[in-house]
Amino acid sequence: EAGVTQFPSHSVIEKGQTVTLRCDPISGHDNLYWYRRVMGKEIKFLLHFVKESKQDESGMPNNRFLAERTGGTYSTLKVQPAELEDSGVYFCASSLTGNIQYFGAGTRLSVL
């Protein structure tokens, strides 16, 4: 069974550009989460989808971040326009029941 897949693994962009991260959860997992780890800090929650609906987006830093999960399958996280402080590793996780979450390898975003 395939795990959580994230693409790209690494993205380098300039300040002001747009970047879109993609996450494919484990098949059958209705719950999909986005997290971010900024250098030296803890992994922090961004938002939670149940199927295609946003269950909780309290962790989204500002309106430059837009997450979608059309059809309740894969999800995208768009940052537009990117700022220097957006640099970090973005993790996606999925779960069946909500307690145990399975993580992807992450996308390392570098904003120059």
Binding site: V4, E42, I43, Q55, N99, I100
Partner: protein
Amino acid sequence: DQQVKQNSPSLSVQEGRISILNCDYTNSMFDYFLWYKKYPAEGPTFLISISSIKDKNEDGRFTVFLNKSAKHLSLHIVPSQPGDSAVYFCAATGGGSQGNLIFGKGTKLSVKP
């Protein structure tokens, strides 16, 4: 304000000995706790978990202990192996977090041969 704290950024242990990783939390409403292991350039991998109605959970070489009155949990690895060298994250959920995990900053474990 950090709700989950791992006060030791690193720990070094000899192969074959016990590794004890500690985690403290402040929110008494947390009802489920997890440990994840992370290798460089990989995502966190689920290791073991415990519900707040229990005080111990064991899975092979890994045991998690929960002391609710002290708001403290620990992960014991016995015996430690060089392949256990990784960053270990403590995480908690419940208490209105709606399923999202609250993580500590992690403890880097080095197991020396």
